[in-house]
Symmetry: C2
Subunit: 195 residues, 2 copies
Amino acid sequence: MRVARESDTGLRDRLVDVGVELVAREGVQALTLREIARRAGVSHGAPRRYFPTHLELLSAIARRGFDELAARAAAAEAGGEGTARARVGALARVYLEFALEKRGMYELMFRHDLLESGHLGLRDSSLPLFGRLVQLVGRVRPDADARLVAGALWAGLHGIAQLWGWGSLQLATGVDDFAPLLRSALDAHLGPEGE
Amino acid sequence: MRVARESDTGLRDRLVDVGVELVAREGVQALTLREIARRAGVSHGAPRRYFPTHLELLSAIARRGFDELAARAAAAEAGGEGTARARVGALARVYLEFALEKRGMYELMFRHDLLESGHLGLRDSSLPLFGRLVQLVGRVRPDADARLVAGALWAGLHGIAQLWGWGSLQLATGVDDFAPLLRSALDAHLGPEGE
DNA sequence: TTCCCGCGTAGACACTGTCTACGAAGGGGT
DNA sequence: ACCCCTTCGTAGACAGTGTCTACGCGGGAA
């Protein structure tokens, strides 16, 4: 049996670490199997023992992203007071900030062609998050179908993240800050701020 | 000089034709330079004379998508009567139907990493379309900043197209038809249907 | 005829992901 | 103490990719 020393993280985790670092620094297209192996200091065949396929390694990297997003959302909710409306706003802001701050990772997380078909991150991390959103939306707008409104709101956030992320919305709308767009989306789906 | 016979489309157009056909049939990942050349019946080096780089060929293919989307939108508007609200709804429906009917093409059109950095399609085809959307939105909601509302609405449509396109929204919301989501988004940004 | 030039061919190169055979290292059972 | 055996990483092959370069064919122009 192999004894695990304290600083011995194991190759599996090291590969994912390298991937997270790499996608943050150079983007999705840099996440080559061989490049990750190189930066981890092992041969190009080594990852195969832990990740039978390139997609599985990418999926493991993406899961880190989903986990961090969930953690950020949890942290935002931990400072617990405020109206439901304000909480949705905080959640949305966290979401957009994550997407725009960690662009490469966000892109990876939503590149379904690069991830295992199981939609890993969604079921494990995003669904609870979406459930929480539904819950809050239901409290803000008891009149409407909360899942529908939450779904449309999520789509709006995703669209803003994506389109803003590479400049289309700046070009189209002429604004240079995404906050007004976020406010517009929130007002639209939840009603104006003052309730 | 070379005489152009009637059935002689020229290799350049034939390559783009093959690409459009291929992306519709097999998806973005099938749009290999060599595969396109193969299906066009030429050697793998031939495309290079017309498209110095793979990205330029993909961009030419994507432009066809932008053009068709613009054409569909124009056709929808040609049947000219109806309130501004109804026109926005028609435009939105056209957009979503295009995105979900021609999934591969839509994916290509918004894969900025595969397109020339000039964002060709946007400036030439999408921007006029967006301008028209702004115009209509301004008529529906004279109170608000039309560009902001139109931007948020476009983001919502894009998000629905993307997330619905690979099943996330179905999974999250539990519905199996995107029409309610579209209606929810339209109602949110434009106010309920009955004006 | 002879030249030239547009157009496509064919091979090389570095790179990718996957597969397979191999070797080093170390603990457990006898 | 010895051997075996499992674990883990190495190294090479293979088919495929995008790009680059040298080459040849073929038809209009001089």
